[in-house]
């Protein structure tokens, strides 16, 4: 495992291009595009203001930089550095901007969600979509890029509009049986749309592409409901994390619950492996006085004896958005594993075996888990917890890796390269790349990772 040098970064804006060749990052108002392999700066673009949003087009030809404060979007072409495009939303303001899947259209959401403007890079045509709903996840493109599902709010009712992305024609428009729709998400196969209600009510609705309601699922009433939703890559499972600290798995045939994964603070099942992060040696060990760095103590994983109780957080009941419930959900690319985080057990990552439908591994970190992401190619989970370490888990085991470099590199976020060969680690104002061994070396390397610093 090798680490690149540290580069400057603002707002954690660092993205691999979808084809995996380039890496775009923003420092203040500068957009830097690097080649992933050599980390050579390929292009350097200067924006009008500090970039707040960065997005690659699906074909990796264009980069979108949004400056919400100024209501501006700048688009840069990688092929033609001299080519530029500037979209000004003017007084309408801008709160969100994104590419359409074809990479030729930009969807800008104006302030107050008055409308969504669809700008085309090919024609002068501009489309407007009225009444978009201001919600957690109101826009969802199908994975094949053919359709856009959009949550709308008209006359105090929730609607979903399905557009054909190729010509932005409205395909379907239907009202949803929700009080206050909170999010929509296409299944990976693009045929089923999951719709969930606001956190005040537990309700998950499933709609077919043609607007028929396939199923409605409600686990309980009178309590805070759905917190997170994730489709398995095979479209076979829909995992619904809720505020009661459980994940419910719905199947794709009957859309009924297959099983529910509770997240108890005490783990007593002897089949579950609990990895506990432990500090390797106390800070400032006398054996290494020459070491100039202020690195935090190294850590390693220990396998805890099974009856384990995890650290829990008592949520503040009088505040909005309490820290309870399953807030993070992610399926591994092969759909075999599901990683979750229960927000009132912030230090733990739970990995569930989806073939046996049971808890497989629990990783207890020393700090609260900021984010985790699956390797796009293989069941390998990268975790960061705001410290100077990155953690990797695979069914073979798990390692804790210290990020080298001067000063404290606090990994706040991370993103995988599409091949899984490298990993971008983002701190507050820096980023670095972590190169992992190629597949044939990987198995052996993981075993050695503990010794490697």
């Amino acid at each position: 495992m090798n680490f690149s040098e540290v580069f400057k970064l603002t707002s954690q804006l660092c993205k691999f291009s979808p084809d995996g060749k380039y890496l775009a990052s923003c420092a203040q108002y500068r957009l830097v595009v690097r080649e992933v392999r050599s980390l050579q700066v390929l292009q350097l673009f200067t924006c009008l203001d500090q970039v707040q949003h960065l997005e690659w087009s699906a074909d990796s030809l264009f980069i979108l930089c949004a400056m919400y404060k100024r209501g501006l979007v700048q688009v840069w072409s990688l092929e033609q550095p001299e080519w530029h495009c500037r979209i000004d939303e003017g007084s309408a303001g801008l709160v969100a901007s994104c590419w359409s899947p074809d990479g030729r259209h930009i969807l800008n959401t104006t302030e107050f969600h008055l409308r969504i403007t669809v700008w085309s890079l090919c024609t002068k045509s501009v489309s407007y979509i009225k009444y978009p709903k201001a919600c957690q996840q109101g826009i969802s493109f199908s994975r094949d890029g053919r359709y856009l599902a959009l949550a709308e709010r008209r006359d105090c009712k929730d609607y979903v509009s399905i557009f054909v992305c190729s010509d932005w024609q409205l395909l379907r428009h239907f009202d949803t049986d929700t009080q206050d729709l909170a999010g929509i998400e296409w299944a990976p196969n693009g045929c089923v749309l999951a719709v969930w209600d606001t956190c005040l009510e537990y309700k998950v609705l499933l709609y077919s592409l043609d607007g028929r309601q396939l199923a409605a699922y409600c686990a309980y009433e009178w309590s805070l409901g759905v917190k997170s939703v994730a489709w398995s890559p095979s479209s076979q499972f829909l995992a619904v994390g809720s505020y009661d600290g459980k994940v419910r798995i719905l199947n794709h045939v009957t859309w009924k619950m297959l099983t529910e994964f509770a997240h108890p603070a005490a783990i007593s099942d002897p089949r579950v492996v609990v990895y506990k992060e432990a500090e390797k040696s106390p800070r400032g060990a006398l054996g290494r006085p020459a070491c100039p760095s202020f690195r935090a103590a190294e850590s390693k994983y220990e396998i805890a004896a099974v009856p384990v109780s995890l650290q829990t957080l008592k949520p503040a009941a009088d505040r909005a958005n309490p820290k309870i419930g399953v807030g993070l959900l992610a399926f591994s690319p092969d759909s075999y594993f599901l990683a979750t985080r229960n927000d009132n057990v912030p230090n733990a990552v739970w990995v569930w075996d989806m073939q046996k439908l049971r808890l497989f591994v629990v990783l207890e970190q020393l700090g609260p888990v900021r984010s985790f992401q699956w390797d796009p190619q293989r069941p390998r989970l990268a975790i960061c917890s705001g410290g100077s370490k990155v953690y990797l888990w695979s069914p073979a085991g798990c390692v804790s890796v210290q990020v080298p470099g001067e000063g404290d590199f606090q990994v706040l976020s991370l993103c995988w390269h599409v091949t899984g060969a490298s990993l971008a680690l983002l701190s507050k104002d820096h980023f670095c790349l972590c190169f992992l061994e190629t597949e044939d070396e990987a198995d052996g390397a993981i075993g050695q990772l503990g010794a490697h610093t």
């Binding site: 003017g90 074809d102 693009g190």
Partner: protein, 613 residues
């Protein structure tokens, strides 16, 4: 008896109490108790009576006391102490007999009374102890009762408290339920209100949005624009198309195509899955049939019969349709067939397996040894070996036993013999004892006989005496009748000698030393005899008799001598008899007996002669 006790004089009763105390204190055997009691009652009475009764009866009031006693006694049903009065005037005489009878009666009653009292007292004691025991029991039980009552009260209290708590909890639960209900209602109302408010706000918001929209969008903000260097081509290289109905229809088509594709894909998947499942089922069925049919032909047939022939008929003729074609038919009948047959087979298999399980468990119960499997041959060999060993061991034991016995026979011979001898000695002892007793009996018999002999001898002696007296008298008469020879002893001697047989020599010797000693003389001196004859009627003195006896003893045997003291002592009075007997007894012992007899007679005469002067 009760009456008697109630009327008794207090003084007397106290007295009797004294006595009873005495008696009760002296713990003796019942047989001796009576005597003791009598003693006790008599002795202290004799002492106390005087002191006590002196107050009652004095010299002066004898009459009055007697009459008083009489009265008292008559009231108690005793006969009067006075004799039957002959006349009214005459002073009645004290009947001593009656008095004594009365006293006796009184004493008896007293004794009885005492006995009864004693009994009663012992009973009283017993009852007292019983009472104590019962009282202690009672106290204990009372205590127990108290404690249990307290316990009960405690438990009741606890029960009450628990009930109270329960009630409280129930109340709380109810309250909670109410609360929950209320809260739910509140939530619901709040929700509706919230929704309502939200709607209101949203409407306002929408209005504002609308207004803003109008304001912002209608102004034709110049700033809202896109500056682009040049338009880029589409990703797919096509030109953008106009939105038309045609395109709409195309989109629809596409959508449905996608959906159809998805459904087809899913159907394909399902079909594949189905096919696989069917395959598995088919295989399972085949295996089941093959597994079950050889063993369980009958149950299958039975099951077929029971479940209906229709299906089994279809099952039985597979030749018409190939299996695969059947499975390709996805019609319901085939499915039903399959599932039914599988179910049936499964049931059979299940029962079979259960039976097997039962058998296995039975076998397990019967013996765990089956677990460590040993081949039969090994087993048999092992047993044979073991049997052989046992045989050898037995033999060894036998030989050792024999050896031990031999050793015992050799080494412990002396002991055994001594033991045996002891046994024999004992036996002999027994035998001797028996003999001894027999001897004793014989001795007794002999003694009896001897007694009878002695008696007979005495009688004989008496007879002889009588006869001799007769003869003496006859001789006297004859002597008197004959010529009166003064002291012509020669003839007398001759007569004697002729009478006594062969005692010439003795007579001669005695004759040579006359009057040396009285008993010397008595040894058949003719002089003595002569004298004897003269003093015959006189009663012999004891001393003389002793002398004679002692002198005779010299001649007699020892055994006879030993007996003499026994014989002589009790029969002091009849000395003659003893002598007689003595002489008789000694007679057969020697010829001297006759001589001694003679001498006896002579001594007698001699003694008389001595005494006479």
């Amino acid at each position: 008896m009760g009456d008697w006790m109630t009327v008794t004089d207090p003084g007397l009763s106290s007295e009797s109490k004294n006595i009873s105390q005495y008696t009760s204190e002296t713990k003796m055997s019942p047989s001796s108790l009576y005597l003791q009691k009598v003693l006790c009652s008599s002795i202290p009475l004799s002492k106390n009576v005087h002191s006590f009764f002196s107050a009652f009866c004095t010299e002066e009031n004898i009459e009055q006391s007697i009459s008083y006693l009489d009265q008292e006694l008559t009231t108690f049903g005793f006969p009067s102490l006075y004799e039957e009065s002959k006349g009214k005037e005459t002073k009645r005489e004290l009947n001593i007999v009656a008095v004594l009878n009365c006293m006796n009666e009184l004493l008896i009653r007293q004794r009885k009374n005492l006995l009864a009292q004693e009994n009663v007292e012992t009973q009283n004691l017993k009852l007292g102890s019983d009472m104590d025991h019962l009282q202690s029991c009672y106290a204990k039980l009372k205590e127990q009762l108290e404690t249990s009552r307290r316990e009960m009260i405690g438990l009741q209290e606890r029960d009450r408290q628990l009930q109270c708590k329960n009630r409280n909890l129930h109340q709380l639960l109810k309250n909670e339920k109410d609360e929950v209900q209320k809260l739910q209602n509140i939530i619901a109302s709040r929700a509706t209100q919230y929704n309502h408010d939200m709607k209101r706000k949203e409407r306002e918001y929408n209005k504002l949005k609308e207004r803003l929209h109008q304001l912002v969008m209608n102004k034709k903000d110049k700033r809202i624009a896109m500056e682009v260097l040049n338009y880029v081509g589409r990703a797919d290289g096509k030109r953008g198309s106009w939105r038309t109905d045609k395109s709409e229809a195309r989109n629809e088509d596409e959508m449905y195509k996608i959906l159809l594709n998805d459904y087809e894909y899913r159907q394909k998947q399902i079909l594949m899955e189905n096919a696989e499942l069917k395959k598995v089922l088919q295989q399972m069925k085949k295996e089941m049939i093959s597994l079950l049919s050889p063993q369980k032909q009958k149950p299958i047939e039975k099951a077929d019969d029971s479940t209906g022939t229709g299906i089994s008929d279809v099952e039985e003729d597979p030749g018409e349709l190939s299996r695969e074609s059947i499975w390709d038919l996805s019609c319901e009948t085939v499915r039903e067939q399959l599932t039914n047959s599988i179910r049936k087979q499964w049931r059979i298999l299940k029962s079979h397996v259960e039976k097997l399980d039962n058998q296995v468990s039975k076998v397990h119960l019967e013996g765990f040894n089956d677990e460590d499997v040993i081949s039969r041959q090994d087993h048999e060999e092992e047993t044979e070996k073991l049997e052989l060993e046992i045989q050898q061991c037995k033999e060894m034991i036998k030989t050792q036993q024999q050896l031990l016995q031999q050793q015992l026979a050799t080494t412990c011979d002396d002991d055994t013999t001594s033991l045996l001898q002891d046994c024999y000695l004992l036996e002999e002892k027994e035998r001797l004892k028996e003999e001894w007793s027999l001897f004793k009996e014989q001795k007794k018999n002999f003694e009896k006989e001897r007694r009878s002999f002695t008696e007979a001898a005495i009688r004989l002696g008496l007879e002889r005496k009588a006869f001799e007296e007769e003869r003496a008298s006859w001789l006297k008469q004859q002597f008197l009748n004959m010529t009166t020879f003064d002291h012509q002893n020669s003839e007398n001697v001759r007569l004697f000698s002729a009478f006594s047989g062969s005692s010439d020599r003795d007579n001669l010797t005695v004759h040579s030393r006359p009057r040396q000693k009285p008993y010397r003389v008595s040894n058949g001196s003719p002089i003595c005899t002569s004298k004897l004859t003269k003093s015959l009627p006189a009663s012999p003195s004891t001393s003389d008799f002793c002398q004679t006896r002692s002198c005779v003893s010299e001649h007699s045997s020892i055994s006879v001598l030993n007996m003499t003291p026994e014989e002589t002592r009790p029969n002091q009075v009849g000395g003659e008899c003893a002598n007689q007997k003595w002489s008789v007894a000694s007679r057969p012992a020697s010829q001297d007996g006759c001589c001694s007899e003679c001498s006896w007679t002579s001594t007698n005469s001699h003694v008389e002669k001595d005494g006479l002067p």
